[in-house]
Amino acid sequence: MDIIKTIGLKKVYGKGETAVCALQPTDLTILQGEFVAVVGTSGSGKSTLLHMLGGLDRPTHGQVLLEGQDIYTMREEKLAIVRRRKYGFIFQSFNLIPVLSAEENIVLPLLLDDKQIDHSHINGLLDFLGLTKRRKHVPSALSGGQQQRVSIARALANRPSIILADEPTGNLDNRTGKDVLDLLKMSIKKYNQTLLLVTHDTQVAAMADRVLYVEDGIVTDGRARACSDILS
């Protein structure tokens, strides 16, 4: 069953002379429970794609269907609810809230939803990410890697159906990076989640069910590419 489907998704930044076409018209289908890696050179449009799939940025053309529903035709209030219930977003730059402690940052999506906090789940996350001792610290007192781990925990806190991760392991050493990936993989298996992960690491990409290549705003499906490679 496909969870996300895009139809002619296109993004142009700016107007006239300075217009940049960050994403060429794209038709994509992502299945439920799939682990998709997104690779491509810097500035190729990976983040742009993720933002639009995650309901963060309006496309210039085309649609994003989440479980068959076009998210950009939703009212802003509804879209906000979708964001906090369906998605978990890990940003390239962590974007933590400076006044809240690590733990509070993690439960923020639940707080926004007035949800009961599942403390064992949160404690498990903290424990696994090695943040238990740091749970009361504010982000500015954490190292870059620790901040990244907090942002990952935040994305997993509400057990979203889709995790969108923009280079989550970029700031981590190899070992921790691997641990984080394991956590993500474990999580998607356990809760039948879908994971879209931007990475420059070919090893990481190799672990994915599928790889999307992005080049100058053109998205090519890994399978299709593999086929064409074989054909050529």
């Binding site: 933002h51 995650g54 963060l56 940025d57 309006r58 802003e76 209030e77 906000a80 609810i81 979708v82 964001r83 906090r84 219930r85 998605y87 977003f89 940003f91 730059s93 974007n95 933590l96 809230i97 400076p98 006044v99 809240l100 402690s101 509070e104 923020l108 999506p109 707080l111 926004l112 939803d113 009361k136 610290h137 504010v138 982000p139 500015s140 007192a141 935040r154």
Partner: protein, 831 residues
């Protein structure tokens, strides 16, 4: 970009709206300071000028001095101007008024500020100038060259019986009009002609040279000219008016202080925000190699550019505003004769603003220099003192009271504690000033004060001291029946003897009597009672009930006053040095009054009665012109009639409808007033009309001051709140990406505004209450009718509510902007 300093204009230009807000805030603050300073100096100066106009510029009068002594006075080193006044003669009229003729030389005329409504001063023999009100009371026109027959009693034995030619109409003096003694002028040649002497004794009006202090100079003059005590009369009215002007200075200083504190807070706030918001940028610049001095140069450059624009604009606005208000709109035109424009005010205002700007901008920049660059980068993220957020009780309480959003907003404000504190301080100062000014406007309106001195537009007055002269009940009925008359109330008056124990006379009063009359107060040796003259006054019950605000002690019990069981006491001797209590008598003590009654066959009999004191009053109700000299006893009409047997009224106050044509009423009242022996009509309606105008102007002035304060507060709070929010665009973007709905966003941001508002409203209200009390404390000297201080709840709540609403509204603009921005742009935004 060739030079790094080009960053300054670029930045200011890029942040047009914020720069404009900063300039507006600064300029208004400067304007407020300058205009308050100008108004205060002009008011003080004009008050002194006005005192001179009313009471003359001379400090002392030397009476009945010889021509030689006069010459000595003129040549005395400590005198500036000396005017010669030569007495001529006096005529009494049957209306109860009198004309006293003098000659005034040029200096005397200037020192006494005599002026003419029409015509000229007398020059030749047989010419005379008379005050306008006297002509009116005598039923004469004001036309010049008419013949005035006079029968003058003079110092020489034979009275002068001759006709004079009216050559000038003198401007009224209100005190003369009230006492009924009118001044008339003749020429010196006239006096020589009629009295035949050239070396007559004269009075000298002396203006003491400004280089010498007044109080030691007066006895010196007395010694040098060898004068007796009763020849030396200080111009107590001028001296006390000058003292009164001095009395006002602390309240003006207080107002000035409040304005300065408020403006400094506003300037500091506006500027501090402008700098702190750029800390991150400074961190960045330093990361790429900018030295500390580069940073301070940028900050300084910015401060200079903004000051160069806003301070001159503010000075122009302030000075122009005062000129426009006073000369254009006519606000305070009666109070301010000339706008005094001392250049130091400009200097002080500019200096204070520069110092505030320095403190607000350069200091934090210095601090910023000492912070390691990387930390400066993080500064904007908020340096929380504690590295850990502990779930303290306080936080739990906040969360419990205001929920997650309230607590989150609180945390956000606390990350920039200092900025929050500065903003709250600035806004609460503005609110407190608003409360204090509002309190003063409602309670200390100068027109209100004066209105208390002029109780009614008209007063009918029986001038004769005879107990058989006065208005009767039937007169009151006639007055009441006139169209346009709303209320008539009458006052009975009678001289009596009062007896009280010598032990109850205050030491202060005994000293005063010793000093003024060179005698000690003595008592009847057998009874130990002092017997003194006192005024006995009868008021209507309804009237007495309205005199509650004059009570110092005790109560006004209508029933007991009506039955004559109790009386009220006015217990002051008023001299130039203020009011001194005569006795220590209090509520529950007894006094004995005795009165001479005229029985059948004009036989005199004395009647005495003892009364219990029910209350002590500050002054006689509604007769502020009546300066209390000694004890006054206030009774109900019924008790007065029972004790004195008299049903006659000495004074009748007549109130009219506001829109009444006063001249028509005046003509009607005149016939009634003159229907008794020595009956006079005193009209105050012209003064009252002027007062009403003054009242409107005062309100206008206060409103414009309040308006400026409100604008400053708005500029400062909008600036702060929008800066604070827009700086966190990225955070709000993240929150939205995490699924914060617009509804929740509004809630979060409103909470921040509300926290600003609640804190400022609370402190502002509290401060305002305190300041209004200080204002009351200053005003009580001037406005004796103010009863007691009460918390001005209405104004406080209005100000606090306004502050909260203002802060809430200030969030709407940035809220809109934040919502408009796409989430991705917001997340990427790095200022």
């Amino acid at each position: 970009m060739q030079r790094y300093t080009l960053l300054i204009p670029r930045y200011l230009w890029a942040q047009k709206r914020r720069s404009l807000l900063t300039i507006v805030g600064l300029a208004l603050a400067v304007a407020l300071m300058v205009s308050t300073g100008l108004l205060i100096t002009s008011l003080v100066d004009s008050q002194i000028q006005r005192a001179r106009l009313h009471h003359g510029s001379y400090h002392v009068t030397l009476k009945n001095i010889s021509p030689m002594q006069f010459g000595m006075a003129v040549n005395h080193v400590k005198t500036a101007r000396v005017g010669k006044v030569t007495p001529f003669g006096m005529q009494r009229y049957e209306q109860g008024v009198a004309l006293i003729a003098y000659s005034y030389d040029e200096h005397a005329r200037a020192l006494a500020h005599l002026s003419l409504d029409s015509g000229r001063f007398p020059k030749n023999v047989g010419e005379i100038a008379i005050e306008a009100w006297l002509l009116q009371e005598l039923g004469l026109t004001q036309s010049l060259d008419q013949v005035i027959p006079l029968q003058l009693t003079t110092q020489s034995a034979t009275p002068i019986n001759d006709s004079f030619i009216l050559v000038g109409v003198l401007t009224n003096t209100s005190t003369n009009r009230y006492t009924g003694y009118s001044r008339a002028l003749v020429s010196e040649t006239t006096i020589v002609h009629f009295l035949g002497v050239t070396a007559q004794d004269v009075d000298a009006l002396i203006e003491i040279s400004p280089h010498y202090a007044i109080s030691p100079t007066v006895p010196q003059l007395q010694r040098d000219l060898q004068l007796f005590d009763d020849q030396v009369w200080e111009n107590v009215m001028l001296l006390s008016a000058l003292e009164g002007a001095k009395h006002m200075i602390p309240s003006y200083l207080f107002l000035g202080f409040l304005v300065i504190v408020t403006t400094v807070a506003a300037i500091y706030n506006v500027f501090h925000i402008a700098v702190v918001q750029r800390m991150e940028q400074f961190g960045l610049l330093r990361c790429i190699g900018a030295a500390p001095h580069h940073i301070s140069r940028i900050v300084l450059g910015e401060a200079i550019i903004l000051s160069l624009i806003s301070i001159p604009v503010g000075l122009l606005l302030g000075v122009g505003g005062v000129y426009a208000l006073v000369y254009g709109v006519g606000v305070l035109a009666d109070k301010i004769i000339n706008i005094v424009f001392p250049p130091w005010i400009i200097g002080v205002a500019a200096g204070i603003s520069l110092v505030s700007i320095y403190l607000a901008a350069v200091r934090p920049a210095k601090v910023g220099q000492n912070v390691p660059p990387i930390q400066a980068l993080r500064l904007e993220q908020g340096v929380l003192k504690e590295q850990q957020v502990n779930p303290r009780v306080w936080h739990k309480l906040l969360q419990w009271c205001f929920g997650f959003y309230g607590r989150f907003a609180y945390l956000n404000l606390m990350r920039q504690r200092k900025r929050f504190a500065v903003t709250v301080f600035s806004l609460s100062m503005g609110l407190a000033l608003f409360v204090a000014l509002g309190y003063v406007t409602l309670n200390a309106n100068p027109a209100l004060i004066l209105e208390n001195e002029f109780p009614a537009p008209f007063q009918l007055r029986a001038q004769s001291v005879s107990p058989l002269a006065g208005y009767e009940k039937q007169h009151l009925d006639t007055l009441q029946s006139f169209a346009g008359v709303t209320k008539v109330n009458a006052i009975q008056e009678r001289g009596v003897k009062i007896q009280y124990p010598l032990s109850s006379v205050t030491a202060a009063y005994q000293d005063l009597v010793q000093q003024l009359f060179k005698r000690a107060i003595s008592a009847d040796p057998s009874t130990g009672l002092v017997s003194a003259n006192a005024g006995l006054y009868g008021y209507s019950s309804e009237f007495l009930q309205q005199a509650e605000h004059l009570l110092i002690e005790g109560s006004i019990n209508s029933e007991r006053l009506f039955n004559g069981e109790e009386v009220l006491l006015v217990n002051f001797y008023t001299s130039r040095h203020g009011a001194v209590p005569v006795t220590t008598l209090g509520v529950g003590d007894y006094i004995t009054l005795s009165i001479q009654l005229i029985g059948a066959n004009e036989a005199l009999s004395e009647q005495s009665r003892t009364f219990r004191i029910g209350g002590i009053l500050k002054s006689n109700p509604q007769q502020p012109q009546l300066v209390s000299v000694g004890v006054g006893v206030v009774m109900d009409h019924a008790a007065f009639q029972q004790f004195t047997g008299s049903t006659l009224y000495k004074r009748v106050n007549v109130y009219t409808q506001a829109d009444q044509d006063y001249e028509v009423v005046e003509a009607q009242l005149l016939t009634v007033s003159q229907s008794i022996h020595q009956g006079r009509l005193i009209s105050y309606w012209e003064e009252l009309a002027k007062l009403k105008q003054e009242q409107r102007q005062f309100t206008l002035l206060a409103l414009s001051l309040i308006g400026v304060i409100v604008i400053i507060s708005i500029a400062s709070i909008v600036n702060t709140i929008s800066t604070n929010l827009l700086l966190r665009t990225r955070e709000f973007g993240t929150l939205r990406a995490l699924g914060l709905s617009n509804q929740q966003l509004r809630c979060l941001i409103s909470w921040e505004g509300l926290l600003y508002g609640l804190t400022s409203g609370f402190f502002g209200g509290l401060n305002g209450i305190g300041w209004s009390y200080v204002a009351y404390w200053f005003m009580i000297h001037e406005a004796s009718y103010l009863s007691s201080w009460q918390v001005p709840w209405a104004i406080v709540l209005f100000a606090a509510g306004g502050g909260i609403l203002l802060c809430y509204l200030a969030t709407l603009l940035p809220l809109h902007q934040i919502r408009q921005q796409s989430i991705v742009n917001a997340i990427k935004a790095v200022e």
